[in-house]
């Protein structure tokens, strides 16, 4: 199997607590990998470790992306290389205009890729089509970033950023939390639009509901800081019936 990202024996702490305990995972290009597991298994820590969150201290192992180690890279460098995290709880930033933020982020990426930066008019044209598809009101881009947004609006805004930045590895951390059925369908539509056989998805979820909308290729069960089982989508109904305790380690 070719891999776009390889996580080898990674160990990571948050504060004094060891959360990831020699975790191994390989992401195949163009595939949807779902990470499932009970509360406290280390799912969110895994996503934070990949994107270089300041809470996480990597104490062992390595993460390579396209053959290059990323554990010592700054978060913005990882983002510019094409790694994207859709946050479970996106922060509100009063005073930062959403459109300005999105254009700054896009132009940082374009600059990194040696492309010309987009002006405001070009950017707005680019964004309009995505807004419609996500069912977002156009005034959301003129408001402050995530300020006063409902849970659903925040998640849509995360997907809007994903559509604009066109990353290669997309980590969706509990993307379905706080979404009603309509919002979940629209968000899933945005995600599925990005499935082009080249981009790789890491869907982190506690419940299987999101997997009705985003069909996974692999299920990885995470428990106590390690991946204990990797299987195909047929594992989902088994998990629903038997729970995580019924899983035997590979």
């Amino acid at each position: 199997m070719s891999t776009v990202m390889k996580i080898e024996n990674i160990e990571a702490n948050i504060g004094d607590k060891k959360i990831l305990k020699g975790l191994n995972l390989e992401l195949e290009p163009g595939k949807v990998h779902a990470i499932m597991g009970p509360n406290g298994a280390g799912k969110s820590t895994l996503s934070k470790t990949i994107v270089g969150h300041y809470d996480v201290e990597v104490t062992g192992g390595d993460i390579t992306y396209k053959g290059k180690s990323i554990v010592d890279m700054e978060p913005e460098e990882r983002a510019l290389e094409g790694i994207f995290l859709s946050f479970q709880h996106p922060v509100e930033i009063p005073g930062v205009n959403n459109a300005y933020f999105l254009r700054t982020a896009l132009n940082a990426k374009r600059k990194h890729e040696g492309k010309e930066e987009l002006n405001a008019a070009e950017f707005l044209r680019e964004m309009k089509k995505h807004l419609e598809m996500l069912g977002m009101k156009s005034d959301m881009i003129s408001r402050s970033l995530n300020e006063g947004f409902s849970g659903g609006e925040k998640k849509r805004n995360e997907i809007l950023q994903m559509l604009i930045l066109e990353p290669e590895v997309i980590i969706l951390d509990e993307i379905d939390s706080g979404l009603d059925i309509d919002a979940l369908r629209q968000v899933s539509e945005g995600i599925n639009k990005m499935k082009d056989g080249k981009r790789t998805f890491l869907v982190i979820t506690h419940y299987s509901r999101i997997l009705d909308y985003i069909e996974p290729d692999y299920i990885h069960v995470l428990k106590d800081g390690k991946v204990i089982k990797t299987a195909g989508p047929e594992l989902v109904p088994y998990l629903e019936e038997h729970g995580y305790d019924g899983i035997k380690e590979d």
């Binding site: 978060p75 913005e76 930033i93 009063p94 930062v96 700054t104 940082a108 930045l165």
Partner: protein, 394 residues
């Protein structure tokens, strides 16, 4: 003139030194409060003695014929231009606050027996431009503003200087906000290091049902202190906002007293402070609710961001309350930029340096955007970004 010569002098001595005639009550007020020094509460965080203990040239304030212009222009304390139809003239101030907390308020009136009076008739937008052209000088003047009942006035106050050094500006307003009227004053001042220093001492009385909005945008270096006293009548309202961005080793800020005298009066005072370099910011603000001011609502908040380990913010919000029937809140926070917000921006490919700039500008914008006129809002945003980016190149 060296103002420190007035230190510890009695009424007679001050009268002789300032050559005042028939103004004994004012001289007594000044001497009873005394020349400010480092232990004076409102000046505690401000190096006032150094500014006062300097030999300044005194200026002759010779009135000029006022040219027609779209704004009021005051050059070194003398009005040179004013819009047609606006009454701007020199006159003895008959309505001096005899309970002001600041001795320099009285010194200002003693040094300027005649004040620049601006009577605003009807609804109006007025711009005042203060220009300073003289080095090593004491520039002293006072301005009295009155408006009409049930009218709405917006004033924009701006500052320009030539290449001057070592000048001290003492000025201030006496504002009388008439019943049922509104006055909005938006003040933008960008100072550069070692040009001039400024102490402003204002007094604002807000009549029944009237409202005053005071937005102060203070950017850059050098030393400046704004002393503000606001008195609120029945159902009167004040909305005071102060945005400070200081760099280098400047010391600037506001010492204020908002006094609720009338029932149902309301006040909102918000300070946002961004401190860089070795700057020291000052927000020493008292809200006093008197016995007569039942059903008052008072809100006061100061938020500060320190961008450098040597920057310092002296934030001292205070409430002094003499009644039970009121709603009041106050608070002050000082800290660094929010790490969660920084990380969020970085996770989208924005460099940490750029992310820090975005968050600082965002912090400032939350106050700048309370200026309703979008043209002036943009002007203030640009002024802030210019000063901020100048000290954060790269």
């Amino acid at each position: 003139m060296n103002l420190i010569t007035l230190k510890n002098k009695n009424t007679q001595e001050v009268s002789q030194l300032l050559d005042t005639k028939d103004r004994n009550t004012l001289v007594e007020k000044f001497t009873s409060l005394g020349l400010p020094h480092k232990m004076t509460e409102e000046y505690h965080y401000f190096d006032v003695e150094k500014l006062l203990d300097t030999e300044y040239k005194t200026l002759e304030y010779v009135p000029k014929s006022i040219q027609e212009d779209d704004k009021i222009i005051i050059v070194d304390g003398v009005v040179t231009s004013a819009p047609k139809g606006l009454r701007v003239y020199l006159e003895v101030c008959e309505n001096i606050d005899m309970e002001h907390f600041d001795s320099l308020y009285y010194l200002g009136h003693l040094l300027s027996p005649r004040v620049i009076k601006i009577d605003v008739d009807g609804d109006a937008h007025v711009e005042i431009l203060h220009k300073y052209t003289r080095s090593n000088a004491l520039i002293n003047y006072r301005v009295e503003i009155t408006n009409q009942a049930n009218r709405h006035v917006t004033m924009y106050e701006n500052f320009e200087t030539d290449e001057i050094t070592n000048t001290l500006v003492l000025y201030g307003y006496d504002m009388h906000i008439a019943q049922d009227s509104t006055l909005r004053m938006v003040r933008l001042q960008t100072m550069n290091e070692n040009r001039y220093s400024m102490i402003t001492s204002h007094r604002v009385d807000v009549a029944k049902n009237a409202s005053v909005v005071l937005k102060n945008f203070d950017f850059g270096g050098d030393q400046a202190l704004q002393l503000l006293k606001v008195e609120l009548g029945e159902y009167a309202h004040v909305d005071a906002g102060h945005l400070l961005y200081l760099n280098e080793d400047s010391k600037r800020g506001t010492a204020s007293q908002i006094i609720h005298k009338g029932e149902h009066s309301t006040s909102k005072q918000i300070a946002k402070n961004i401190l860089d370099g070795q700057a020291r910011g000052i927000f020493d603000a008292l809200i006093r609710v008197e016995h007569s001011a039942k059903f008052t609502k008072a809100e006061q908040d100061s938020k500060s961001i320190l961008l450098h380990e040597k920057a310092y913010m002296a934030s001292k919000p205070q409430l002094e309350i003499y009644i039970d029937e009121l709603e009041a809140s106050h608070g002050a926070t000082t800290g660094q930029l929010d790490e969660k917000q920084l990380f969020y921006l970085q996770s989208r490919g924005i460099s940490r340096i750029e992310a820090r700039k975005m968050l600082v500008i965002a912090f400032a914008n939350t106050l700048i955007e309370t200026v309703k006129d979008t043209r002036h809002q943009e002007r203030i945003k640009n002024a802030f970004e210019e000063v901020f980016y100048a000290s954060h190149k790269g």
